[in-house]
Every structure is written in structure tokens, then in C-alpha cells.
């Protein structure tokens, strides 16, 4: 089943039964129901419409969509350009997004211009949503639209700040590193499935989850992050397997892209490896480029992981870990016992 991270809606004769410019503001009941379902599932929603911006602002206010629609592109220009801007701004791949428009020409046009995006009519939605609803969702998933709104406020404050480092200190960022517990299973699966750029991705997700669940909980470490703008929940996970007396194999590693926005991916990696359960003299991992995870390779390079020539392995030592400094705008806390 493909991931669905984002739905991009058309407005006229899709969400609306008629055309806004002609004064029609009746909502399509199937579309309205789907919007509420998507919101409950934590799937981001946005609007791409060829109506004037001022008319759309009034419409969003009228229906109280300001929190539901995380991005709105409204102008008389190309629909495909609007959809591309939404995908770029939200850093979401077309393959994880769906465009909803009752006009078959528009659906075909978007599909032709944006490779990989799903294109549905409103009538298609209930069947697609049924498959998604069958999957359990995490607290992080439910809060995703809210987290996006919180991130927009943070970005606005960041842009207004005169000193970036002072701004980051004002965010009061905290990372908590703790052992994995069974209640983390769903979020672990979500992180290993949804994270593309900061994901070691050596194993197929199902196998990674199976190994993680068979492992001693002390070999799996979780990182949670929050700041003054909100709680981002569980943002990182590492699964280590002892391989001999002095070495651990990193079986899985996934770090949410939310850390990158704060320059914290390296601090989070260091935090995960510094948990008492994760301390080994040396670490080893395989890295295989999969087209998306080059940022992770950069993270491992920045941390000091050295390539073992002639292999796809990287090695790292406790000495190198000790050299990594954490920025002073983040506090890292360690919990030593699993809490359920």
C-alpha cells in the first residue's frame, strides 16, 4: 500500500458542488466527509485553485479551514505549477501525494506533468480512505497537521530573528533519549517506513521491524523532541546488535527530517549513541545508496564514520563519538529505564 502524506484539493466542482466565482458555496458532502477523515488520520491537506487569492482567503475563513489546509496556492496560473510549489514547500514526494479534482482532464494533465502523483476524483476517495483507516495511526500521525502549523509559526519567527543562534536558544529545544518500549512499535514502523532521507534503509521495512521486535529492548533506543513551539514526539530510532565483545552493528537508523530544520540531526545521532544501552567501543553499519538517503550518508560523514574500503561498510568509534559536541541550543536528557 502506498503511503499517503498529502492530499492536494481542487476547489470548484470538487470540494464545492459548484463554482465559487458564480457564487456557489455549497460543499460536496463526500468531499467534506473525506476532509474530516483525512484530518483525523493526520494526512496533510492543501488547496490548489485557479481562483483569486482574496476570494480564497474569504472562503477559507468562511469554512474555518485555516488549520486544515496547511498550504494554499490560489492564482490564475497553471494548476501543475501550483501543485509543484505545494510539494516543494512541504518537501513531499509526488509518490506520497494525491491530487483530487473531479475534472478528468485536470487529473490527466497533472498526472502527465508530475510523475508519480496519484490523481483521484471525489468519488474515488472513500475506497482509498478505507484502506488507510484500516491501519492504526500513531499520536505523531494524528498531530501531523498541527505540527505543520507549529512549524510555520517557528519558521516565521526564525525569519524575523536577527540572530539565528539566539533564535535557536529561544526555542528551548529538548531531546529525550530512552530505551524502546513495546508501545513504540507503531511509531518505529512509521519512522522506518516514512523517513527517506535520514534512513539507513539496509533492510526491507518488514524485516527491520521483525528484527527490532525480536531484539532485546535494551538494544533499541528512541529519541523524542520538543521545543517551545510544540511536541514533535518520537523523532529518531536506532537498533543496535552486539557483534562480538567490542562492536555493535547498527541494524536500523531513522531520524525525522524535523531535526534537520533545527540543525540537530547530528546532535540526535550523538544522543542516541550516548545512551548507556548504546555504548560500544566501535560501531559498524552498512550504507547502500537508495536514491533518497544521501543526506544520511552526509550525516554519517559529518559524525566521523569512516568507509571501510572495498566494502559498503562504515565504522565509527567511541573516541570519535566523544569528540562530537552538542550545540548549546539543545538540551539532551537521558532516561535509563523503560517507561510504559
Amino acid at each position: 500500500m502506498r503511503l499517503l502524506k498529502l492530499v492536494i484539493w481542487d476547489l470548484d466542482e470538487t470540494i464545492l458542488s459548484g463554482i465559487l466565482e458564480e457564487g456557489d458555496t455549497e460543499l460536496d458532502p463526500v468531499a467534506l466527509s473525506a476532509m474530516k477523515q483525512l484530518d483525523g488520520l493526520g494526512i496533510l491537506q492543501s488547496l490548489a485553485t485557479q481562483n483569486p487569492p482574496e476570494a480564497i482567503r474569504s472562503t477559507i475563513q468562511q469554512f474555518d479551514w485555516s488549520k486544515m489546509m496547511v498550504q494554499v496556492e490560489a492564482d490564475l496560473g497553471s494548476k501543475a505549477q501550483k501543485v509543484k510549489r505545494i510539494l516543494d514547500t512541504l518537501s513531499i514526494s509526488p509518490v506520497d501525494a494525491a491530487f483530487v479534482d473531479n475534472d478528468p482532464f485536470e487529473r490527466a494533465s497533472i498526472s502527465a506533468q508530475i510523475s508519480g502523483i496519484m490523481a483521484w476524483s471525489v468519488a474515488d476517495l472513500p475506497a482509498h480512505l478505507r484502506t488507510i483507516e484500516d491501519a492504526a495511526i500513531t499520536e505523531e500521525a494524528r498531530r501531523r497537521p498541527q505540527m505543520y502549523q507549529e512549524e510555520q509559526v517557528r519558521l516565521r519567527d526564525e525569519q524575523a530573528a536577527s540572530d539565528y543562534a539566539d533564535f535557536l536558544r529561544s526555542c528551548k529545544i529538548e531531546i529525550t533519549i530512552r530505551p524502546y518500549v513495546s508501545g513504540d512499535a507503531m511509531r518505529a514502523q512509521e519512522l522506518l517506513t516514512r523517513t527517506h532521507r535520514m534512513n539507513l534503509g539496509i533492510l526491507p521495512v518488514d524485516e527491520a521491524i521483525a528484527r527490532l521486535n525480536r531484539s532485546s529492548e535494551h538494544n533499541v533506543i528512541v529519541a523524542e523532541m520538543k521545543d517551545a513551539y510544540g511536541d514533535m514526539g518520537r523523532c529518531g530510532i536506532i537498533h543496535l546488535t552486539p557483534a562480538g565483545e567490542d562492536e555493535a552493528l547498527i541494524e536500523s537508523l531513522a531520524i525525522s527530517c524535523r531535526t534537520r530544520a533545527r540543525g540537530l540531526s547530528l546532535a540526535m545521532l550523538a544522543g542516541l549513541l550516548r545512551h548507556p544501552s548504546a555504548r560500544f567501543p566501535t560501531y559498524r553499519c552498512r550504507y547502500i545508496a537508495n536514491g533518497s538517503n544521501l543526506p544520511l550518508r552526509m550525516l554519517l560523514l559529518g559524525a566521523g564514520f569512516k568507509p571501510r574500503r572495498g566494502t559498503d561498510e562504515l565504522t565509527f568509534s567511541a573516541e570519535q563519538l566523544a569528540k562530537l559536541e552538542t550545540p548549546d541550543w539543545v538540551r539532551i536528557h537521558y532516561q535509563f529505564a523503560p517507561t510504559e
Binding site: R260, R262, G263, L264, P295, M298, L301, G304, P307, Q320
Partner: protein, 86 residues
């Protein structure tokens, strides 16, 4: 290209990638400090700019922290690659 020109070029490429001025960075000082906050995309951008500027392809096994430690070490690597090309 002289060593100094090579190092200045590398400093410019790193500055462009990181979107900030590195100023008078010492050639032997660490280029990337975890204390400043780490940007994996900026590092990726720097490597892509290096490849483009010097017409080289940096293989994964050369993504070595000893090579990408300082301007000096990056310059030495680039020079070796250029010289081996003949």
C-alpha cells in the same frame, strides 16, 4: 592552479553551499563543527559543487572524515585526483 587558489576556491564552494561566509577560516581548522549545528544538505551541496567545479566524481569510499576535515585536506584530495587524471 596554485595551492592557495585551490584552497580559496574550496572556501568559496563551501561558503556557497552553506549559505554563509566562512570568513577567514584557517586552512587546517575543521570545516564542519557539530557545535554550530549540522546541515547534511549543505554538506551534500558542497560535495556536488566540488565535483562540478573540478570535473571529478567523488566515490562513496572517499566520503571519509579525514578527507573532508579541513580546507587543506579537501584541497590535497582534489589535487591528487586532478593529478591522477593527468
Amino acid at each position: 592552479m596554485s595551492d592557495q587558489n585551490l584552497q580559496e576556491t574550496i572556501i568559496q564552494l563551501a561558503s556557497a553551499a552553506m549559505g554563509k561566509k566562512l570568513g577567514r577560516i584557517r586552512p587546517d581548522a575543521p570545516m564542519f563543527s557539530s557545535q554550530d549545528g549540522f546541515d547534511s544538505i549543505a554538506l551534500m551541496e558542497f560535495i556536488l559543487r566540488l565535483e562540478d567545479a573540478f570535473g571529478i566524481k567523488i566515490p562513496d569510499e572517499d566520503l571519509d572524515p579525514d578527507i573532508f576535515y579541513s580546507v587543506e585536506t579537501v584541497a590535497a584530495y582534489v589535487l591528487a585526483r586532478l593529478e591522477s587524471r593527468g
